[in-house]
Subunit: 216 residues, 2 copies
């Protein structure tokens, strides 16, 4: 890697990014399974098959590693639920919600750690989780058939995100009801919350008959 030929630089950069990603994935898995204090840099290095030196190269302190790992966990959830703008708004909401619950089903421990504070909270980690919610709220605002988002609609959407997180975390503990029931419930609650909020602020609500279909 030292005697890099110019032509190979891009490929090396890619490899370095992949390596960083692997380190973060290994770190996030460990931080999810144990408390912050219980995770040593050695443990992460061993799990990732890397040297401690490489880890310190990317992340000078354990705190840096921890925050980057939490950020990566949050980024994965956002990537997974992203719907491109060419998808029609209502479909973005439906498919985004379905993708969100798919993520919960497949990465339960990671989700519970992120949204249920299982990774432990300091101000910066709380900011990462909060930024994730802000991004999800912005996507919803962009998909609502409303002329503008006022404070009541804003509150309704933030509340709804809290609703979805609570039913997802509860499902991870209880294993019930079905994910389909949760999706239907979340869809019905989003509709009700937006209609009520838009009505409270005397916005036109005609277009809101069914922002999310609540059954298929």
């Amino acid at each position: 890697m030292k005697a890099a030929r110019p032509a190979r630089v891009p490929r090396q950069r890619l490899e370095l990014e992949v390596r960083r990603e692997q380190l973060l994935a290994a770190a996030f898995d460990l931080f999810v399974q144990r408390t912050y204090d219980e995770v040593g840099i050695e443990d992460v290095a061993r799990a990732a098959g890397a040297s401690k030196g490489l880890l310190y190269h990317y992340f000078p302190t354990k705190k840096d590693l921890y925050r980057a790992a939490v950020q990566r966990g949050a980024d994965l959830l956002l990537e997974r639920t992203f719907m491109p703008p060419e998808v029609p708004p209502v479909e973005r909401l439906e498919r985004g919600l379905a993708a969100y619950f798919d993520y919960v089903e497949e990465h339960g421990a990671a989700y519970a750690a992120l949204m249920g504070s299982g990774v432990g909270i300091d101000a910066e980690v709380a900011a990462v989780v909060e930024a994730t919610r802000v991004e999800i709220a912005d996507r919803i605002f962009g998909a609502l058939p409303l002329p503008h988002v006022d404070v009541a609609v804003r509150a309704a959407v933030r509340g709804w995100i809290g609703f979805v997180e609570a039913i997802a975390l509860d499902w991870l503990r209880q294993g019930q009801p079905t994910i389909q029931t949760l999706r239907d419930l979340a869809g019905a609650v989003l509709t009700a919350a937006i209609v009520k909020a838009a009505g409270a602020s005397a916005s036109p609500i005609e277009a809101l008959a069914d922002p999310v279909k609540t059954s298929r």
Copy 2:
């Protein structure tokens, strides 16, 4: 206090309980304002006008003091929102919800610390917060006009508690919309969530026309 006469023992016990309560109140205030590491036993003693010795008498370690303070914060929220069983069910829900938002308005920092993880999270503190939600959910189950609470209704209520927490925390950050709008929104969402959940499980929903009046 050393030469206690028998007749004064009950009063002394009361005084000791009041003293313990004062220590916890002072501790909770400090843990809300700063991080766990930043709060020293000396600070709590000074704020409560007590000796370090007295604090250690009640709480052998800082961790003990911290957990007792968090528990007291959660207990206050539950006491404040408690409605006696002789109050009719729908009114219990309405008045309980109003009392909940009153608490949020008056004790914003304490509420944000408890429900927004501001006091820091370890497994025992998370258990205190979770037990608070379980108690609130049980009260709601007891006030719903349903023959039984199935898994879908259970999820709906847990989700709704997440909705209320999210709009309350958002209101504490934004100061908008009005508390009355939040109460109306929360009432409408509870109705919609329960009707949807009870419908999903084919329970009779006739009695559910309006479990919480959504405007006054």
